[in-house]
Subunit: 289 residues, 2 copies
């Protein structure tokens, strides 16, 4: 896929996701208005929508009509949004701004931010469940609910955030530990982004396994690229180790490139049809923001 085509691809998909999120999030003129406003504020501002775009691309690869995976693609973005609100809270990373805007708890207060987290999580399960139900080829919706629950729970986001908090300011930082934080904290949700549409599309075990490797690799490359961009902007959290502080810039860039090659190699079995996924993998490390 040429660069121009990729840009168009990302733009149209992002517009599709933005529109779907807008339609699925509860309205601000319905009670609890303040909580709904916080949910919309957190979910609708400035996201790159990489996770739902990845999800749509996998659904497409599996021959699933876009409307049958769009709800669960939104669900994954909303779960991601909920995890960001949580991470920024005073008792967690105590951040003040995110994506150049005040954090949700700064704009709406902690109580409402927490209620927004709960509202987003509930909506996320609801949307995945609705997609699973509408999917004729999937024998049962249980796998997809389980994938989302696992990505969220103490073997996913919760575990990653716990290790992240435990290692802050700790002298025993190591690549192993950092890889572990990342594998659960961001990696679990990237994994869900390929597994859920793969199940909805009724893909076979070999295909699912290939996509799993792909997701792990680009999830990891995505995190390293985030650290590189933070270092370039000087916006890294100085109390925390990153892939850049541990490896140095050049080695970190090299590692991200190798991971992208791993990702592309993993989905070779899909042939030409996987062109959007290959382009997305390349885009992950090439992005400038």
């Amino acid at each position: 896929m040429m660069n121009r085509m990729l840009i168009d691809y990302l733009r149209t998909r992002k517009a599709l996701v933005d529109e779907a999120l807008e339609a699925r999030l509860p309205r601000e003129d319905v009670e609890p208005k303040h909580v709904h406003a916080a949910m919309r504020y957190a979910a609708l501002s400035n996201g790159k929508r990489l996770r739902p775009i990845l999800s749509l691309a996998v659904g497409e690869l599996g021959g699933c009509p876009v409307e049958r995976v769009l709800g669960s693609a939104c669900a994954l973005e909303l779960m991601h949004t909920a995890s960001l609100i949580l991470d920024d809270l005073p008792c967690m990373d105590n951040a003040r701004s995110r994506r150049d805007l005040p954090c949700t708890h700064v704009s709406f207060g902690e109580a409402t931010a927490l209620l927004a987290v709960m509202g987003l999580v509930a909506l996320s399960f609801d949307l995945v469940s609705a997609d699973a139900d509408a999917s004729v080829r999937s024998a049962s919706s249980e796998p997809v609910i389980r994938i989302l629950a696992e990505a969220m729970g103490t073997r996913g986001l919760v575990l990653g955030q716990h290790i992240d908090l435990a290692q802050t300011g700790c002298a025993c930082d190591s690549m192993d530990l950092l890889e572990e934080v990342h594998r659960y904290k961001a990696g679990a949700l990237f994994l869900a982004c390929v597994l859920i549409p793969a199940h909805l599309a009724g893909m076979g075990a070999d295909q699912v396994k290939a996509l799993e490797t792909y997701a792990r690799s680009i999830g990891f490359a995505f995190q390293i690229t985030d650290d590189l961009l933070d270092a370039r902007r000087g916006s890294e959290d100085l109390g925390k180790s990153t892939f850049v502080t541990l490896l140095g810039r050049e080695a970190a860039e090299r590692k991200a490139r190798v991971l992208v090659q791993d990702a592309i190699e993993a989905i070779r079995l899909f042939g030409d049809k996987a062109e959007p996924l290959r382009a997305l993998a390349t885009h992950v490390t090439a992005r400038k923001e």
Copy 2:
């Protein structure tokens, strides 16, 4: 059901639920150990288990083997537990103790308490989904996931907690407002406790409707009884209106009794089989703790 029989019934069901919760909660010697310890602390200490016992009774009424509704009964208790941790946080009700023990955030810190909430919610969806999948009579698991998501989200617990926070210290207290807080905050989960097993057991629309009325009535009676017990102990939160402060003790007791009669009336169509549910309804207002 005689009083003695009811006590035995509650005791055996509570033991069953306690054992099932113990087995389904992640172990404390598995990472994230601290989060798992907080989840177990909050879920395993001193609960009356009324919600899961209600759930089991409805499953039984619908002819569902207990092992097919036990997971979702646990799920409802875990969702309730998560909501209690959340309500007690400094930015919410700022409570220090619950059920005669320090609150989860007091014992484990706020960050871990929040991660425990997320872990419990994820586990809750996982358990309901597994029960739905194993249920042969239910055509789809989508309704049960949706019921749980709705009980949790901005039309359930989140809405109730939002109204509760908004009315604290507000002079405009009224019965209407208090009923509304209750309907969402506790009522939504009571409703889920009958709707989920009813769906798993494949009950018809008339039966589901009867159980809905039953759940709303006993949920409301349960809350009024809670307020009466708090007033008797002198442990009510003085900043908040309760059914006792608004109605007076006698009228509150009368209202609870009428609600129990409504609940019993609603399930008349089930005949003798509904004896456990009738006994549970009576127990809700007769309890001493």
